[in-house]
């Protein structure tokens, strides 16, 4: 048929990297919205629950306060939170500077254990209670244990199946985001705005902790140990046959530091690659593919620089755990886009909070967040350096939430009630 004879246009593959980041972000937001509507349906948590967290240390909101008190309280809470996060990030920079990478990796594993095991277990218990699901505690304990252990291993080891790692990162983001939505309303919004301003400052200002971290990592050419979502890189049609080659290149790019270095230097000097227990044939395919990637003058070729930025996200709950999360957008060594888990979390918190009001705000905020993400990705492609991923999305999201809640809702309801549409 004519269609098969014609060569494929760029419309087939253009924009694929963006979709590979937008899809997991959307899935995380969808899961948080579902959790919020199932678990918080009916009761409002603004007055009842006053649990002590880092975020409500300064001021515990109750629904009987006046608007002005609430605003002041929210501001105070946000300032305290941002201060704690700044201190924690500087601590992280110090540890990274002193080469305590092992400690950071173990800490990452420990924090994902806490999130998956305790928070995940608690939310699973809520869900079981709401849905009257018949399960005994032994089965539940075994299932939770297995789920948590696989998750911790997926975060620790980079040679896990990429889909499993990505799925677990999305689940961790969802759990932490749901926890954040339990905070009082004004505090949540204040926190979101404060965190996006902090992100802007920390990444772009010369003395900002995240910028220092990125420069350190670049100078040493190392991977920062933190929770980062990496989308699968886009490899254009090399005619070598699909899935296997694609996987190989990704794994080589994301492997150990030494492997990475050696691969690159070997490609440049054209000497034979050492095997790491992998077959010769596979590495030759990788060699050919990488060589082609370097030689080809294509937009899809990998920039061999890593830019990442980090923010540490501290959350004190009853179990007093701390989470290490990563925020910001960068380009991975194989050209894949990396998005920090903190971004996932805050986007989902925004949309989850919107879900507590009405679903119209959810749709509007979703579109705003995706638009902000798209703008950030375009700027990333343009400037080719580490960028904060929070400011555009969160500020657009907050703006659209306010506009929808105050203006759009009345308009649409009035038109629909009268069966007037356009």
């Amino acid at each position: 048929m004519e269609q098969n004879r014609r060569p494929k246009t760029i419309l087939e593959t253009c924009g694929e990297e963006i979709i590979r980041i937008v899809t997991p972000v959307s899935i995380c937001m969808l899961l948080v919205v579902i959790l919020v509507s199932v678990l918080n349906g009916g009761s409002s948590l603004d007055d009842g629950l006053s649990f002590a967290t880092m975020a409500t240390m300064a001021y515990s909101e109750s629904s009987s306060d006046s608007i002005w008190d609430k605003i002041k309280g929210a501001l105070l809470n946000s300032l305290v939170f941002v201060a704690v996060v700044t201190v924690a990030t500087f601590l992280l920079v110090l540890l990274f500077y002193l080469n305590c990478t092992k400690f950071l990796k173990y800490y990452m594993g420990f924090s994902s254990l806490l999130v998956l095991g305790f928070m995940g277990g608690e939310i699973a218990l809520f869900l079981i209670k709401v849905s009257n699901f018949p399960i005994d505690c032994f089965t539940f304990a075994v299932a939770l244990y297995n789920f948590t252990v696989v998750g911790v291993v997926a975060v620790f080891i980079s040679k896990m199946a990429i889909f499993v790692t990505q799925a677990y990162l999305v689940v961790i983001g969802m759990l932490v985001a749901y926890w954040f939505t339990l905070l009082p309303e004004w505090t949540t919004w204040g926190l979101l705005v404060a965190m996006s301003l902090y992100d802007l400052a920390a990444v772009l200002l010369p003395g900002g902790p995240l910028r220092l971290l990125v420069e350190l990592a670049m100078a040493r050419d190392e991977d920062i140990p933190a929770l980062v979502y990496e989308a699968r890189p886009v490899i254009s049609d090399a005619g070598l046959g699909d899935g296997v080659v694609r996987r190989r290149v990704w794994r080589e790019g994301r492997g150990d530091l030494d492997e990475d270095q050696r691969l690159r230097s070997d490609l440049v000097s054209d000497s034979s690659l050492r095997t790491y227990g992998e077959s010769e044939r596979e590495i030759n395919i990788v060699d050919a593919e990488e060589g082609r990637a370097l030689g080809r003058d294509s937009e899809l070729a990998a920039p061999l620089i890593q830019h990442i930025n980090i923010r540490m996200n501290s959350l004190e709950n009853a179990v007093s755990g701390e989470n290490l999360a990563l925020e910001g957008i960068g380009l991975g060594s194989s050209g894949a886009i990396k998005l920090g888990l903190g971004d996932f979390i805050f986007y989902s918190v925004l949309v989850g909070r919107a879900a507590m009001y009405d679903f119209m705000t959810v749709y509007a905020c979703y579109l705003a967040v995706i638009a902000g993400l798209g703008i950030t990705l375009m700027l990333l492609a343009f400037y080719q350096k580490a960028l904060p991923a929070l400011p555009f999305s969160v500020l657009l999201g907050v703006l659209f939430y306010l506009l929808t809640r105050l203006l759009l809702e009345t308009f649409v309801v009035q038109c629909s009630i009268n069966l007037l549409m356009f």
Partner: protein, 250 residues
């Protein structure tokens, strides 16, 4: 309205769009991005309109002329938006063609351009369905349902999802016709989309009368079918012209 009924109403309004999305748009990531951006643009136009009209709503009078003014201004704004979208689309096609030349791949085919127009139109349609119909469903879950006095034979949600289906069709395919008209310079096609949109909006005014939806909604579907048929004819004509041009060149 029970959850099952809610899912039914959603599928009624968005079912064809969902199948179109899965079959055509999800295959090419660029089309998904086009859909998301055009949904956002339609939402922004809706917010702009609500910013203007919020002060006057809800209307105290029962006469029809404030509503017709509302419809007129809304349709006018959205058609101006369509013109703006065409300019943006043309710019983007040029950028894509330049990029294709750089990576030595073929330029955009005519089917590609039509698919982009389809994705843009579907963005508008999905935005309409989501904001006018689906977002009203979720607060209403529970054992009872809601009826409007002017159209009291069927539940309100069913009426609004039927209307949303018609509008989704109109928005999706009139964008293809409009972009085709702008690129060919065909005046008839260029005026088709605004006229059909305005007619559809005016037909919904008939719903203001008591029992008016019995007349208004079938008229709305007439417009939807007219749009579908005209779009099919236009696309067929364009493709056969193109094919005969290609065979002439070869």
């Amino acid at each position: 309205m029970t959850v099952a009924a809610g899912i039914g109403y959603t599928l009624l309004a968005l079912g064809p769009s969902l199948s179109l999305f899965v079959a055509v748009i999800s295959r090419k990531p660029f089309l998904t991005l086009t859909l998301l951006s055009s949904t956002l643009v339609w939402l922004m136009s809706l917010i702009a309109l609500s910013a203007v009209w919020r002060a006057f709503l809800p209307f105290k009078t029962a006469t029809w002329w404030p509503y017709s003014l509302l419809i007129l201004t809304s349709v006018a704004l959205q058609e101006a938006l369509r013109l703006f979208l065409w300019r943006v689309n043309k710019r983007m096609e040029e950028m894509l063609d330049a990029y294709a030349d750089r990576v030595s791949k073929p330029r955009l085919y005519i089917t590609d351009k039509m698919q982009i127009a389809l994705a843009g139109g579907m963005g508008h349609g999905v935005a309409h369905a989501v904001f006018f119909c689906i977002s009203l469903l979720t607060p209403a879950f529970g054992p009872a349902t809601y009826y409007v006095e002017k159209c009291s034979k069927i539940p309100f949600f069913l009426v609004s999802s039927i209307m949303a289906l018609a509008f989704v069709t109109i928005h999706t395919f009139s964008m293809v016709i409009a972009f085709n008209g702008y690129s060919e310079g065909n005046k008839k096609d260029q005026y088709f989309a605004p006229v059909v949109h305005l007619a559809a909006g005016v037909f919904t005014l008939i719903n203001l009368a008591s029992g008016g939806c019995v007349v208004g909604i079938p008229l709305l579907y007439v417009m939807a079918i007219v749009t579908l048929v005209h779009c099919g004819n236009t696309v067929w004509r364009r493709l056969t012209d193109n094919r005969s041009m290609e065979t002439n060149l070869q």
